[in-house]
């Protein structure tokens, strides 16, 4: 006998002790696929025969089975399973995980079992026990299907057991080997004209053979390589259900299409099979039209529709199609409940004001990696929600017929010629027949706590997996919840930046020589030096208009956002933010970027000055306070020492105090340079330095010179709010070029500049061991007073400060860089919010890592 087993199933072996189950199992299944009750007894009680441990052993058996089934692994239960009640809980378990149940019954003669038992050395099962077990098995055997077994195989002799062959069959729903590209078409409902027109738009050739006795014959020829997928609800309501069926059946038969059933097909089949169904919701139209068809067509159609598979998993598991969508845990599984969900979706049990069932919004909770394309409920405009999309645009109700091109993710649609059927509930905004844009509508993409808490591993393209420890996530949750802006805007958080290695030059902590040397050692010949502005990091997102912001970012009211490196709103005063955004918008208009970059949104990485605009509290409570205390205290010390020097020699103390006074004065100059009063937006300076992303593109394939030149287009020469950043390309293999870079740094820092940032010319630069630091900073001597304290330049202080470890900082910079780029790439790929947020959240979490804040 050949025993065909679905690739995912719960296989229950049924037979008394000694019937040959274990031997059979070992022969046909992997050891890890088999769970035996004996082993479970031994696990909990150190004894395979411990009958008093049976309850505990079966608890363990169930737990292992449930974990395996949850994970989608074939599982074989090797226990006697002769009583209905012992099988019942296993069948329930399989149902819970949407798995089919297969029973293999070992109905061998009692004599064989008794003989075999006698040969056993480990234990002897009493004859009467075997007899009783066999009796129990035989009494309930014929009810197995009723108990929920999908397939039952009975082996009636030792020979049959020995001769049996086990074959594993892929599930019908599994079409992972089909990679498309696909054109996936939503609910057609008998709208044949619109279907033909849509197929034409998609490049399919539809030929109709003259009407013969059998009625018209359709031949669909796809563009090379492409394939159609019909999402069900081909029938009912519309003008030509038979025509649609003919076309679809022919396309499926020729291999040009796949088709999944909808709830309307299910009901039509039942009606055609002569069952008693309510003729509502447009069924009457189908039945009427079909009755006029040549004989035999109805039967063929019924057979076709009856055989449709609930859903398909395609393209290596990356795509799932089902009429009403499908939860992640049901994908690729076959059970009655899976089919019901695929056809009808899930309802909450409530009804709305139109008397229609309220649908449970499964897509809002969807976290699966597979893209789910579905229909079922007409929507004015398809919208991506967590990697799912509903493409039923209500053609039969006068909307449109829509196809999703996969993997391109393009929507193609044709408008309905007219309203064929009045919907119970208006689905189009009033007075709008075929809308092209929509508001936030009914979709829901609220983030879920489990998207962010606990230890997390985020996969990044640039830098493999980034682990976020649980305690960092805990800290980030608080910051994100209390202070961050709407997560829809948060498509990027900038990475931290490490300084260059410590300089050995007298009086200096940092110098360009180390930065140049770092990149040279990594095999990077060219670097770009950018003047470092002392302000605050600002990420600017600017949209073409409010509609674009709403459509792309799902945020209403506003054309963009300006936020800090920790995701907080840059300005407490929204009016200031709006004003500055207007200026950036005007600059983008002037530069003609909307057209040139084919985008209606732009993400810029910037520095916003003055420092005092953001760091007002820090400046007053720390910087100015220290300056004020130092000035007053050192003056008092000076006075006392001056007076003392007339009596006692305090020369050393005097000399030191003079140095300290000087240092403090340098410190005051240093921070004051970055402070100026801001009365209006005009007093702000925004210096963009990366054009990070626009629609369809993360611009990390261009080098930094491109970025600097590009963003300069936004900055008008008259010194408006947007400010150009000076930069210089240095060849670190050429000492003269390096010297020039160093001279430039000296010049910048001597006129009070903070210093410079050295980056590899390429945005993402690779070395032998992976990517290199995206940037390294070299700060000026005076500026560093703000970082290391007013008196850091005193020799006894400086020497101690030279010892500093950059390792952790650099590792963080790398991971955060990878995460930042990852979040942009995910956003640009239109991935769901939680996938983008995961990265931004991880950056924030890594920032809670205790690192020397001076670096």
């Amino acid at each position: 006998m050949t025993i065909e087993i679905p690739e995912l199933a719960l296989v229950i072996l049924i037979g008394p002790s000694g019937s040959g189950k274990s031997t059979f199992a070992r022969k046909h299944f992997k050891p890890t696929e088999i769970i035996t009750s004996d082993l479970c007894r031994a696990l909990v009680a150190d004894d395979e025969n411990a009958q008093d441990a049976t309850a505990a052993a079966f608890e363990v058996l169930h737990l292992i089975a449930s974990k395996r089934l949850e994970g989608g692994r074939l599982t074989v239960i090797d226990a006697t399973n002769v009583q209905p009640e012992s099988r019942k809980s296993l069948v329930e378990l399989a149902k819970k995980y949407y798995c089919l149940v297969v029973g293999i019954v070992f109905d061998v003669p009692e004599r064989v079992m008794i003989d075999r038992n006698k040969q056993r050395t480990d234990r002897i099962v009493r004859q009467d026990v075997i007899h009783r077990q066999r009796d129990q098995m035989r009494r309930s055997q014929r009810f197995l299907k009723r108990e929920g077994f999908r397939y039952v195989f009975t082996l009636e002799s030792e020979e049959a057991v020995n001769a049996a062959i086990v074959e594993r069959k892929p599930l019908w729903v599994n079409r992972r080997d089909q990679h498309g590209p696909f054109d996936i078409i939503g609910d057609i409902h008998g709208c044949l004209d619109e279907l033909c027109s849509l197929l034409g738009t998609l490049g399919y050739d539809v030929a109709v053979e003259a009407e013969g006795l059998q009625g018209p014959q359709y031949h669909v020829t796809p563009p090379p390589g492409r394939k159609l997928i019909f999402l069900g609800d081909l029938v009912d309501r519309g003008p030509n259900t038979p025509g649609v069926l003919r076309l679809v059946m022919s396309a499926v038969a020729s291999g040009a299409a796949l088709c999944v059933p909808g709830n309307h097909e299910q009901k039509l089949v039942r009606a055609l099979q002569g069952r008693n169904v309510q003729v509502t919701h447009g069924l009457a139209e189908s039945l009427g039209q079909l009755s006029e068809q040549p004989s035999g067509f109805k039967e063929r159609a019924a057979e076709f529709l009856d055989r449709l598979i609930s859903h398909y998993v395609l393209d290596d598991g990356k795509l799932v199609v089902a009429h009403a969508g499908l939860r992640q845990e049901m994908q690729g599984r076959a059970s009655g409940r899976v089919r019901d969900f695929a056809l009808y979706g899930e309802t909450t049990g409530e009804t709305d004001e139109f008397g229609l069932p309220v649908r449970y919004n499964w897509a809002a909770e969807y976290r699966g990696r597979a893209t789910v394309v579905y229909g079922h409920t007409p929507v004015p405009e398809p919208a991506w929600v967590n990697n799912t999309i509903n493409v039923d645009t209500g053609c039969v109700f006068g909307g449109r017929l829509t196809a999703l091109r996969y993997p391109e993710r393009e929507l193609v649609s044709v408008a309905a010629a007219r309203t064929y059927y009045e919907p119970a509930k208006p689905f189009l905004p009033e007075g709008d027949q075929a809308p092209t844009t929509s508001g936030p509508g009914d979709y829901e993409d609220l983030l879920e706590l489990t998207d962010v808490i606990g230890k997390r591993i985020v996969q990044t393209r640039l830098f493999r997996n980034v682990t976020v420890p649980e305690e960092n996530a805990t800290a980030a949750l608080e910051v994100m919840s209390r202070f961050a802006i709407d997560p829809h805007w948060l498509i990027y958080l900038p990475p931290t930046m490490s300084p260059s290695e410590t300089s050995t030059e007298p009086g200096l902590l940092e110098h360009p020589a180390q930065a140049f040397a770092y990149y040279r050692k990594q095999g990077i010949p060219k670097v770009v030096c950018e003047e470092k502005h002392m302000g605050s990091r600002a990420v600017v997102i600017i949209c073409k208009d409010e509609q674009a912001a709403q459509k792309r970012f799902r945020v209403t009211g506003g054309i963009g956002s300006i936020y800090t490196r920790t995701g907080r709103p840059f300005f407490a005063d929204r009016a200031v933010e709006a004003d500055l955004l207007q200026r950036v918008h005007a600059a983008v208009d002037r530069a003609g970027w909307w057209e040139e970059l084919h985008t209606d949104w732009i993400c810029l990485d910037c520095e916003l000055m003055p420092w005092s605009a953001k760091a007002q509290d820090l400046l007053r409570n720390q910087y100015a306070a220290v300056g004020s205390a130092a000035t007053a205290a050192l003056a008092a010390v000076q006075g006392a020492l001056d007076q003392t020097s007339a009596i006692v020699d305090v020369g050393d103390l005097l000399a030191k105090n003079r140095l300290r006074v000087e240092a403090v004065s340098g410190y005051l100059d240093a921070y004051r340079r970055y402070c100026w009063p801001v009365e209006s937006v005009r007093d702000l300076r925004l210096a963009p330095f990366h054009l990070l992303a626009t629609e369809g593109a993360v611009h990390i394939d261009k080098d930094h010179a491109w970025h600097m030149e590009k963003v300069a287009e936004l900055c008008t020469p008259d010194g408006d709010v947007l400010m150009r950043t000076a930069f210089k390309v240095v060849d670190v293999t050429d000492p003269a070029s390096e010297q020039e870079g160093t001279r430039w740094w000296e010049e910048v820092t001597s006129r009070g500049g903070e210093g410079m940032v050295v980056k590899p010319l390429e945005f993402v630069a690779h070395a032998a061991k992976g990517i290199v630091q995206p940037a390294v900073k070299c700060r000026g001597r005076e500026y560093l007073r703000i970082i290391y304290g007013p008196e850091y330049t005193l020799p006894e202080n400086l020497d101690r400060l030279r010892a500093r470890g950059l390792g952790l900082k650099r590792s963080l910079a790398m991971r955060e860089f990878a995460l930042g780029i990852e979040s942009l790439e995910r956003f640009v790929r239109h991935e769901p919010l939680h996938r983008v947020h995961e990265c931004a959240f991880a950056v924030l979490a890594l920032e809670s890592e205790p690192v020397d804040p001076r670096l």
């Binding site: 008092a636 020492l641 304290g789």
Partner: protein, 465 residues
């Protein structure tokens, strides 16, 4: 940082005997946090001044010191006022350099050490958290004439205002040991920061150094509380022993501290709010309840005490707050049956959370005003759409009432983290809209004494499904 002590008690140079420091020499002591130099700018029979110059090592402060980081890590930064101000470092230096003098011992002038003499101490500079008024409230009751010179934060940015630093001169006729003990205790009290961990020893030290003046000081609660860095247990113990009577009510001390920061000094308001929320939860017959934004557990305590509530979940976004709540509720030691009734969770009202589904009621007490207005929509969805408890009780300040708080400057909100405070109309408009959208009936109740014009200090909305 510089401390000078001057006397005109003649012969003034006897000050050198009292301090055990020779006026004719510069003397330097190595201390753990830096160096202390003692020298005499003036040493005549008519007038003698001793100077203590304290050099706190700014690098060692960050790198070598084992001690608390201070509020928001202020003690562990290079850009730090510590090298320039009088702080607990000065107290330590006084104890080490002038230890005998502080103890009232003098080898050569024992009687003088016991004699009140005219003394003048100048501190450049002293951080006065609480400003000059507090400086006077602290030093004047112990007999000093106080002179204080303030400084702007930055002369080039006048609008930044005044710095918290003063050059302070204290004049009195007293024993030198009195002056030093006062400085030892009161300098850190003015500064409100300590560079070392506070332990039980600190109580003993305070009782020893303050025995003869602290019990009668009108600001003793504040002094004890600040000196012991707000450690309630220690503060209570110290106060009990100091005034030799029972301090049953821990709130007395807490009130002393909170009075400096929170305008809602009306302690009963907090209780009334708890009572009102509790009543609303009880009235609805709730048995399984959520306290969303439970903070340090103020509401959890009465919930736990009431057997009507069989399942209590306290959720907060701050792990620190939850740890405090856990300690305050003594969760670790609660009998198992009690402990089973309560659960603390870290969570956020910005994220949908399946753990919050299926409860009878939720309290959201003084929480919404901590959310940025654009984020309220997420809050509404999380609470009213997804968690969907049968009853939701929301309280928030009534901004109209703010004019009634004498300590609250006009235009200021009640807490610096408040993102908004609403008028009654604003709150009602919000709550009614949420109620309509999410199918909840809403009723409003005042909390606290209602003023005919500006209403009650707190407003409460009870949403029921």
């Amino acid at each position: 940082m510089l401390l000078t002590i001057t006397t005109t008690h003649q012969p003034a140079t006897d000050l050198g005997y009292l301090l055990h420091k020779n006026p004719g020499r510069l003397q330097t002591a190595e201390l753990s946090m830096g160096k202390a130099h003692v020298f005499y700018p003036e040493a005549t029979p008519g007038r003698c001044t001793a100077a203590l110059l304290l050099e706190v090592d700014p690098v060692a402060l960050v790198r070598n010191r084992k001690g608390p980081g201070g509020d928001a890590g202020t003690l562990k930064q290079y850009v730090n006022d510590r090298p320039y101000v009088a702080s607990s470092f000065l107290s330590v230096a006084i104890a080490q350099v002038f230890g005998s003098a502080m103890g009232g011992r003098s080898k050569d002038r024992p009687e003088l050490a016991e004699t009140p003499i005219p003394l003048e101490a100048t501190i450049a500079v002293l951080p006065c958290r609480g400003g000059e008024p507090l400086l006077r409230r602290i030093f004047e009751p112990v007999g000093y004439t106080v002179t204080a010179q303030g400084y702007p934060l930055d002369a080039t940015f006048q609008d930044w205002g005044e710095s918290p630093y003063f050059t302070v001169t204290l004049q009195a006729t007293c024993r030198l040991s009195d002056l030093l003990r006062h400085l030892y205790v009161l300098v850190p009290v003015m500064d409100r920061e300590k560079h070392y961990w506070i332990t039980q020893d600190e109580v003993e030290k305070l009782l020893r150094l303050g025995a003869d003046w602290l019990p009668s000081h009108p600001e003793r609660e504040l002094i004890v509380d600040r000196y012991l860095k707000h450690q309630r247990r220690l503060t209570r113990a110290a106060l009990e022993r100091l005034i030799e009577e029972d301090v049953d009510d821990p709130e007395v001390v807490i009130a002393a501290r909170d009075a400096e920061e929170i305008p809602e000094t009306d302690m009963t308001l907090r209780e009334q709010r708890l009572g009102s929320v509790l009543a609303a939860l009880k009235g609805g017959g709730a048995s399984r309840v959520l306290d969303l934004g439970c903070g340090e557990g103020a509401l959890l305590k009465p919930l736990l005490a009431d057997q009507q509530f069989q399942e209590i979940v306290g959720m907060d976004v701050s792990m620190r707050a939850l740890d405090i709540a856990k300690e305050r509720l003594n969760l670790e030691r609660l009998p198992e049956r009690q402990a089973r009734r309560i659960k603390l969770l870290q969570g956020s009202l910005m994220y949908r959370d399946q753990r919050l589904q299926g409860y009878d009621a939720a309290a959201v007490m003084e929480v919404i005003e901590h959310l940025d207005p654009p984020r309220l929509a997420a809050f509404e969805r999380v609470v009213f759409h997804y968690a969907k408890p049968g009853t939701v009780v929301v309280t928030t300040p009534n901004i109209e009432y703010n004019v009634k708080f004498p300590t609250l400057a006009a235009g200021h909100l009640r807490h610096e983290d408040h993102r908004f405070e609403w008028t009654r109309l604003e709150f009602q408009a919000w709550a009614n809209r949420v109620g309509t959208e999410r199918k909840y009936a809403v009723r409003f109740l005042p909390v606290g004494t209602e003023d005919p014009e500006v209403g009650a200090p707190t407003q409460m909305a009870v949403f029921t499904q």
